[in-house]
């Protein structure tokens, strides 16, 4: 399904011609172009995907610079501002959840913490868990997928059954159960550290079969391709074929599935925090803000809107970018 990224030198010339033919009308030069190049050129013309990419980069920058931005704004995510709270109802004074020059997105009900500062710090948890759990899933998925596809036989049967099993598991329930039985101190980590670590591992663990299945299928079909056969007939060993011939060609599908997995993982993290099994207060996270906002949806709807929109924008940006990457790397795509 996916054209090779790097062909062995012996085949370079015909494959370049092939790829140029696939690229069709968009290729004016006779020179061959790699799939990476073609993909990048397609991606450059996809405005939605670029918008997604820009937003993602902005979010990463904001998350990294959260302490700097909040101190520039003169806010602290855990500082109480009880003077801004209506003592009778517990809701922020002023319109729209207490939005003011000091508190650009208002303050939380009851304790009056600055919402913008908490959103900025919450972005760190969301992105950290989203990225790293995808990395865990990719590592497991690639290793087991390649093993299953490349060696076949009982290795393949065993790994495939395990993947089927994991996919049929009630995942959210198991993740909740696992996260909840974990102790508060572990491996030298404490509190939030343990929670984040466990979430990354568990979300990544339940995510690997999605990548594993794709990688297995790709490996299976590529194992019999001519260029692998050529390498084999020239006396290349198993591991040479694995690392030099197969893995480079798996990069494209792996990239696609990773970009598509990050938004799902961000949603899972938010869901866990929403259910109260994610990071513990006072550490800020978006899901947790939404879960406390549920009691105020009548009296202070802004408190619910801000973290909700933050999750929406983040996940949407990743999805737009992911869709763009998929279309760009798909050799069958017409764009």
């Amino acid at each position: 399904m996916t054209a090779p990224l790097h062909e062995p030198t012996a085949e370079a010339a015909p494959s370049a011609a092939e790829e140029a033919a696939v690229a069709g009308a968009e290729s004016k030069s006779v020179q061959g172009r790699s799939l990476g190049r073609i993909a990048w050129e397609r991606l450059k013309r996809d405005k939605l995907a670029l918008t997604g990419a820009v937003v993602v980069l902005l979010l990463v920058a904001v998350a990294l610079l959260a302490p700097v931005i909040t101190s520039l704004l003169g806010q602290d995510p855990n500082e109480y501002h009880e003077d801004l709270i209506d003592p009778l109802f517990g809701t922020p004074v002023g319109s729209l959840g207490g939005i003011s020059g000091d508190h650009l997105l208002g303050v939380e009900p009851v304790n009056g913490r600055d919402i913008l500062a908490r959103i900025l710090y919450g972005a760190r948890i969301s992105l950290l868990v989203g990225f790293l759990s995808a990395v865990v899933a990719v590592i497991f998925g690639t290793v087991f997928g390649v093993l299953a596809g490349f060696f076949g036989g009982w290795v393949d049967s065993l790994i495939s059954r395990v993947m089927d099993g994991l996919l049929a598991f009630p995942q959210l329930l198991f993740i909740i159960a696992l996260v909840s039985v974990m102790p508060n101190d572990m491996l030298g980590l404490h509190g939030t550290g343990v929670r984040v670590f466990v979430m990354i591992l568990v979300i990544g663990f339940f995510g690997w079969p999605y990548i594993g299945r794709v990688v297995r299928g790709q490996t299976l079909s590529m194992r019999e391709r001519e260029y692998v056969e050529a390498a084999r007939s020239l006396g290349a060993g198993r591991f040479y074929i694995l690392f030099k011939e197969l893995l480079p060609n798996l990069v494209a599908p792996i990239i696609v599935y990773t970009t598509m997995m990050i938004p799902t993982n961000i949603l899972t993290e938010a869901a866990l925090s929403f259910l109260g099994v994610g990071v513990k207060p006072p550490t800020a996270s978006w899901g947790q803000m939404l879960s406390s906002a549920i009691e105020y949806y009548e009296s202070d709807p802004m408190y619910m809107v801000v973290p909700g929109v933050a999750i929406f924008i983040t996940v949407l940006a990743f999805n737009l970018f992911g869709d763009g990457v998929r279309d760009a790397l798909d050799p069958k795509g017409s764009r």
Binding site: L172, L173, F174, A177, I294, G308, I311, L316, D323
Partner: protein, 332 residues
């Protein structure tokens, strides 16, 4: 067909055993490695040592793990008597465990809450299948049109919104802002309109998310299938477009949709945790979440098993439907 069915049944049975072992592993072995006393989490953190010791005896927690699994299994069919610490607690079959914290058997809790979750999941599934597949097929047929782009933008927004946020927003707007309905769950046996009114927002919220996913998948699958040779053949031999789409293309489009439906429905029947929490519905998901917050392990164990069972049954039904739709599957 019969051989196929047997193979599937066997696979499901193996899966169930594996799940039970994994559940036990999570709840009995992980705390052990982490150095947490399991017996105390069956009773409560502040329980006195005598009570903890009694539960340890009653559950046979010092026994090897396989005999604990066996006792649990036996309880499902034969009932179970917990003896130890000077008193005896009986749990009638089917015994899915006994909560020493709330002093009640788990099975009645499950049967109480199951209808709520089932109604939520099935109602939403009907909505999202109709909406998602209709939108997906229309988008694929009118590719690149205004309708296609509009539908896909909505679908993309749908998969990017957490279900609890759309749920809260719909509560704020329809139940509180406009005051159209009373968003409280009422059992079907009390009043049909009350039941319907209490479930309509959860249905729509849940269906919106899944309809978005299904529309995207349906569109992609349909587009791929419309490029197949057999569709060209069908058109070439002069079949009406309705027949080509409705009979030839739809049949292949249904298979991935069915797979997804099996997994999604199974997972939801086992507890639509997020939706139930948002709308305060007394279903299985809410029960398990409360149990997790109270560290009430027997309840978590019971619900997890029921959930896994639901997923397995849903997958089994899908496998059978699969074979009906696609004869090639039976031979594989």
């Amino acid at each position: 067909m019969l051989a196929y069915l047997f193979r599937r049944l066997f696979a499901a049975a193996v899966m169930l055993v594996v799940i039970i072992m994994v559940v036990f592993g999570i709840f009995f072995l992980v705390p052990k490695w982490a150095g947490v006393d399991i017996a105390s989490s069956f009773v409560g953190k502040q329980a006195d040592p005598a009570a903890v010791e009694a539960v340890r005896q009653k559950l046979g927690l010092s026994d090897p793990i396989y005999s604990q699994v066996w006792e649990f299994f036996k309880g499902i069919f034969a009932g179970r008597t917990y003896a130890g610490g000077g008193d005896v607690t009986h749990c009638a079959a089917p015994c899915f465990g006994y909560s020493f914290r709330s002093e009640q058997a788990i099975w009645p809790v499950l049967t109480d809450r199951f209808p709520v979750t089932l109604a939520l999941a099935l109602g939403a599934a009907v909505l999202w299948l109709v909406l998602g597949m209709a939108a997906g097929v229309l988008s694929a047929l009118k590719r690149g049109s205004f309708w296609d782009r509009g539908a896909m933008v909505v679908a993309l927004a749908g998969v990017s919104l957490p279900v609890y946020f759309t749920g809260m927003a719909s509560l704020a707007v329809f139940a509180f802002g406009l005051d159209w309905l009373d968003a409280r769950y009422v059992p079907l046996t009390d009043s049909f309109t009350g039941w319907f009114g209490g479930l309509i927002l959860p249905w729509i919220t849940l269906a919106f998310l899944y309809a978005a996913m299904y529309a995207r998948i349906t569109r992609a699958t349909m587009l791929e299938i419309l490029g197949e040779d057999y569709i060209r053949t069908a058109r070439a031999k002069g079949l009406r477009e309705q027949t080509v789409i409705g009979k030839h293309a739809m049949r292949s489009t249904m298979t991935p949709i069915l797979t997804m439906l099996g997994m999604d429905l199974g997972a939801l029947i086992g507890g639509a945790i997020l939706t139930e929490t948002t709308f305060n519905l007394p279903g299985l998901g809410q029960a398990v979440l409360n149990a997790i917050k109270n560290q009430d392990l027997p309840v978590i164990l019971g619900v997890t098993l029921i959930t896994s069972l639901a997923v397995l049954i849903a997958n089994l039904v899908v496998d059978v439907l699969y074979a009906v739709i696609d004869p090639r599957v039976r031979l594989a």
